[in-house]
Every structure is written in structure tokens, then in C-alpha cells.
């Protein structure tokens, strides 16, 4: 049972990393990214392929993942020059799907639908199975903490103020002399880097990644974490990630009460509940459980 909770906590950590990254892009800067699953996949496959197929030391491979996320994030951000937010949503969703299609079809590189087996792990072989679970939880927790501190630092700084200005009205921000595109590229790339790192941590944890893990559903969970927690509020979405995970795991136990449901129907019912919750939250608390703090300027 302890083992179960340690593994759930690790998964909540992955959610938190992704949610913090999305909050940077959307919550703070107003750039819609529905391609979260694509960046997650890029990080996971970069690290996985470099360590398994190219023979890189695992630590180096894991550091290459955020670099790839950074590059692709900057590339996708270039699209935002001319796109309204709802069109950016469609294009980023497309980006995520194209990444998944690539991973699915190019088996020579990624092993396609069979999935890529990753046997390399950081500190592999030095710890026994139980110790390793705790070690990995600590590794993920430290990463969450670092990303949280960076995000908070950005939020409180003059830089964050510019981001909020762009979110509220990019034309006004431009008129005030801010080069909007530069900020957008920087922030989207940084978010992409965090997502890539999250993907790498995930890949070496589960040790087997396949394209079906990176369905657009992943993006929905991350969006829910941010929305339920409160967009723009870093603390809030840590809670949001916990709530979404509690819902995902909690609904598993529905099967114990509704024994007439088979696995297929149970999974359908769980996703329905998630959809309903998302609509109810947006209707009743459109700004989330912990709305963004009012910003006060203290010189």
C-alpha cells in the first residue's frame, strides 16, 4: 500500500511539472497550448532514445530532453505572431498529434506502437527496489520545487508584469514598447523545456513508453489541473494537480461498487465524470479554486 502511495505521489509530481509549465505559457502569458502531450512525448523519446539507442549516459540524455523541448517550444511560439488564441489552440493541438503520429509511424527509430523499452535509469543498480521508489519521488519533488521557485520568481518580477500585460492586451503591451513576440517565444520555449524535462523524468520512471500514452487526453488532464487550481496562480495549480489525480485514482474504485461494469465501460464512465467536473468547475468557479492573486506593486 505504501508503494502504491509513493507511486501516486510521483505521478502527481509529473502533473505538477506539466501544470507549472502550462501555467507559464497560458496562465501568465495567455498563450494557448493544447500540444502539451506532444512536448511530453518529445522529452520522453529524446531522453529514451539517446540513452537506449545512442548509448548516452542517462543523466546527459535526461538533460537533452529540456533542450529539445526548448527548441520546439520556440518554433511553435513563432506561429503565435499572427494567430488568434482559438486558432493557436487548433494549431498546437495539431503539433501534438503530429508528434504522436511521427512516433507511431517511424518504427525504425521509435519502435512504433510496440513501445520503447528503456532500461537506463539514473543511479540504476545502486539502490534496491523500495529505496529506488523513494529516491525517484525525491528527484521529482526537487524538480517540482525548482520549477515552482523559477515560476514564482518570474511571476513577481517586472518580467512577469510584462507577461500579464501581454496576456491582458498584447496591442497595448506593444504600444508601450515591449517586443511582444520576443517575450512570447522566451516563455513558450521555457515552458516547452519544463515539459520536456517532465517527459524525460516520466520515461525513465515507467521504463516503457509508447505512442498511446501521449494521446491528447494528457493535455486535458494538465489543462484541468491548471483550471481547477486557478490559472495564473502557481500554488493553486499544485492543488489542482492533486485534485485531478485524486479524481483519476478515486474513480478506479467505482468498479468495486458497480460490479456490473466491465473495464471498458468503467474507463468510459471515469472520463465522463472528468468531463462533467471540468464543465461544472468552469461554470461555477471560472477562475479556479485559488484565483490569481491581485498584483500589488511594492517598490
Amino acid at each position: 500500500m505504501t508503494f502504491y502511495f509513493v507511486s501516486i505521489a510521483t505521478y502527481v509530481g509529473f502533473f505538477m511539472i506539466m501544470a507549472l509549465a502550462l501555467n507559464l505559457q497560458w496562465g501568465m502569458t495567455g498563450m494557448v497550448n493544447f500540444g502539451v502531450a506532444g512536448f511530453y512525448a518529445i522529452g520522453a523519446y529524446t531522453s529514451g532514445l539517446l540513452s537506449v539507442k545512442a548509448g548516452w549516459p542517462v543523466e546527459w540524455a535526461m538533460l537533452a530532453a529540456p533542450v529539445m523541448g526548448l527548441i520546439w517550444g520556440a518554433a511553435v511560439a513563432l506561429l503565435s505572431i499572427r494567430l488568434r488564441e482559438d486558432f493557436l489552440a487548433i494549431v498546437t493541438l495539431g503539433f501534438g498529434e503530429i508528434v504522436r503520429l511521427f512516433v507511431l509511424n517511424e518504427d525504425w527509430l521509435t519502435e512504433g506502437p510496440r513501445g520503447l523499452r528503456i532500461d537506463a535509469r539514473p543511479l540504476g543498480g545502486m539502490l534496491d527496489r523500495d529505496q529506488y521508489a523513494y529516491f525517484y519521488l525525491a528527484l521529482v519533488a526537487v524538480t517540482v520545487l525548482i520549477i515552482f521557485l523559477i515560476s514564482e520568481r518570474i511571476r513577481r518580477s517586472p518580467y512577469g508584469r510584462v507577461l500579464r500585460a501581454i496576456r491582458e492586451d498584447d496591442v497595448v503591451a506593444g504600444v508601450l514598447g515591449k517586443v511582444v513576440l520576443r517575450y512570447r517565444i522566451q516563455v513558450f520555449a521555457l515552458g516547452g523545456a519544463f515539459m520536456g524535462l517532465g517527459g524525460a523524468l516520466y520515461a525513465h520512471y515507467v521504463q516503457n513508453i509508447s505512442p498511446d500514452v501521449f494521446m491528447p487526453m494528457v493535455a486535458i488532464f494538465i489543462w484541468m489541473s491548471v483550471i481547477v487550481g486557478g490559472a495564473g496562480n502557481n500554488k493553486g495549480l499544485l492543488i489542482g494537480a492533486g485534485v485531478v489525480m485524486a479524481l483519476l485514482e478515486g474513480t478506479r474504485f467505482l468498479g468495486d461498487f458497480m460490479i456490473w461494469l466491465d473495464a471498458e465501460k468503467l474507463s468510459a464512465l471515469r472520463i465522463i465524470l472528468i468531463g462533467v467536473l471540468l464543465i461544472v468547475v468552469l461554470r461555477l468557479r471560472p477562475r479556479g479554486l485559488m484565483p490569481e492573486e491581485k498584483f500589488r506593486y511594492n517598490p
Binding site: 506561429l79 499572427r82 494567430l83 495539431g94 498529434e97 509511424n105 468510459a268 465522463i272 468531463g275
Partner: protein
């Protein structure tokens, strides 16, 4: 080459009607409704229930299925979207994604994820000049043309059509001029719902009936509507034709599993070059 053209036409006929519907909804409510995937899936399964479970002929089943889907789509507006009209487009977009999850998984809850087909006699494809075309494909093309003409007639010659165009052009002005925008919106949802129901049938004829049927069509539909200049019904039809041709041409050089990717790349390139679409007029923000 002729075969490619036929396939492209069938493809276009399949995504044309829902692209028109998506475009009309966007024109009036101003957000991209991702729930179209769910609507189409529900439509396909409603027709399936009438056709296979109740044993009605397909034409009758389609009409009943269109009525059911129209009603459900209208109801989804009343329950989900109407109370949130004032929210930002992005909030509504997320809500519509949640709605499509609920609809698709609702179908999966009742029917499972098995692949199904309509109850139809098997027919041989007709052959002429070395090209093959099935009876179902002729039906798909014919119905799409009928839908295009009907939509044109409604928008052009009826009172409600004029009201729809006015509401789509300028919501506030239409309201001030005494147009009952609530009724216009309700009619639009019902009409579009019927088109999604029809797409359910057509999609079931051309592909297979499964919960992800609608989702797989969503992207080409978006591409067609955006290509045509969103909000323009005629543009959407032409957009469908271009997307249909583009998809079939790429099948010649890329594995067909990349088809969805092609739709996205068309969208991205077009939006970069011409953000308002081929026939759309540039809108002034704020």
C-alpha cells in the same frame, strides 16, 4: 489519377456538410466548437440504433437520426453553452472539449468500442473508365450536393436565413434591429445538429462506426472551415474540396496514417499566410 479525384470528391463530400455547420456555429457564437466530434459520433450511433437495432430502412433511420442529433445538439446548447455565453472563447473551447469527451465516452459506455456497420446489402463497386466507385460513395456525393444547395437556399431566400446572416455579421446590431437572436441561435443549433447527424450516416457508410468516428473527422472539418474563411458557408464547401484533394494526394507519397497531420499542416500554413482564410474578411479585434 481519376481514382484519386473520385476519392477526393468522396472525402470532400464527407467533410463538406459538417464544415458548413461548424462554420455557421462559429459565425454566430464566435468560438471553435470541438464538440462536433461528439455530435457526429452520437449521430452515427443514433442512426445505427434505428437502422440495425430497430431494423428500419437506412433512409428513414437517417432522417430519425438527424432529428435526434439536432435535438441533442440544441439541448447541449441550452444546458452547457447558453449559461456561459459571456465567457471568453477559450473557456467555451475547453468546455466544448469536455462535452465531446462526455458524448464520445457516453456512446462507448452504451455500445462499447467495437467497430460496427450499417445494415446494407452488399453491392459491387461500379466501374467505368478503369475507376471504381461504390453505390454508397455516389450517395455521399449526392447528399453533400443536396445539403450545399439547401443551405444556400436557406441563407439566401428565407427570413430565418437572412436573420442568421445578420446575426453572424453583427450580433449587437441584429439585436437592436429587432431580430430575435435567441431564436436564430436555436435554429442554427438545430440545423447544424441535423447536419452532424447526416455526417454520422455518411461517415458510417464510408468508414466504420466507432466512438472515435467524429474525432477522426474533426481535424479535416476544421481545416476545411478555416481554409474557406471561417463563418462563410460557401467557403467551407470549397475548403472541403481542397482538403479532400490535398489528403488524397498525400496518400500517394506518405503512409495514410499521416492524413490527420496533413489537415493540421494545411491549417497552420494557411493561417500563417492568410489568417482570415481564403474567403473570410479580416476582422478587427477590439
Amino acid at each position: 489519377m481519376g481514382q484519386v479525384l473520385i476519392n477526393a470528391l468522396v472525402n470532400a463530400a464527407l467533410i463538406g456538410p459538417p464544415a458548413v455547420a461548424f462554420s455557421m456555429l462559429f459565425g454566430i457564437l464566435r468560438f471553435p466548437n470541438f464538440a462536433i466530434g461528439g455530435y457526429i459520433t452520437v449521430g452515427a450511433f443514433a442512426v445505427f440504433a434505428f437502422n440495425v437495432t430497430l431494423g428500419l430502412p437506412l433512409v428513414l433511420a437517417t432522417l430519425l437520426g438527424m432529428a435526434v442529433t439536432g435535438a441533442l445538439v440544441w439541448l447541449s446548447d441550452e444546458i452547457v453553452f447558453k449559461p456561459m455565453r459571456e465567457h471568453s472563447p477559450i473557456t467555451l473551447l475547453i468546455v466544448s472539449i469536455a462535452l465531446t469527451l462526455i458524448l464520445e465516452q457516453g456512446v462507448r459506455l452504451f455500445w462499447g468500442a467495437d467497430v460496427r456497420g450499417f445494415d446494407l446489402p452488399l453491392t459491387r463497386p461500379m466501374k467505368f473508365a478503369g475507376m471504381r466507385i461504390t453505390v454508397e460513395q455516389v450517395w455521399i456525393i449526392g447528399l453533400a450536393l443536396a445539403v450545399a444547395s439547401l443551405t444556400h437556399a436557406i441563407l439566401r431566400y428565407t427570413r430565418i436565413g437572412k436573420a442568421m446572416r445578420a446575426t453572424s455579421d453583427n450580433f449587437m446590431l441584429a439585436q437592436v434591429r429587432g431580430i430575435n437572436t435567441g431564436r436564430v441561435i436555436a435554429f442554427t443549433w438545430l440545423y447544424c445538429g441535423a447536419l452532424f447527424g447526416l455526417t454520422g450516416t455518411l461517415g458510417g457508410l464510408d468508414l466504420v462506426i466507432e466512438p472515435l468516428l467524429g474525432w477522426n473527422l474533426t481535424i479535416p472539418i476544421f481545416a476545411a472551415a478555416i481554409l474557406g474563411g471561417i463563418g462563410s458557408a460557401y467557403g467551407a464547401m470549397l475548403g472541403a474540396l481542397l482538403v479532400g484533394i490535398a489528403e488524397e494526394l498525400t496518400v500517394l507519397v506518405l503512409p495514410s496514417t499521416y492524413k490527420v497531420g496533413v489537415g493540421f499542416i494545411i491549417i497552420a500554413l494557411l493561417l500563417l499566410l492568410r489568417p482570415q482564410g481564403l474567403f473570410g474578411e479580416a476582422q478587427i479585434k477590439k
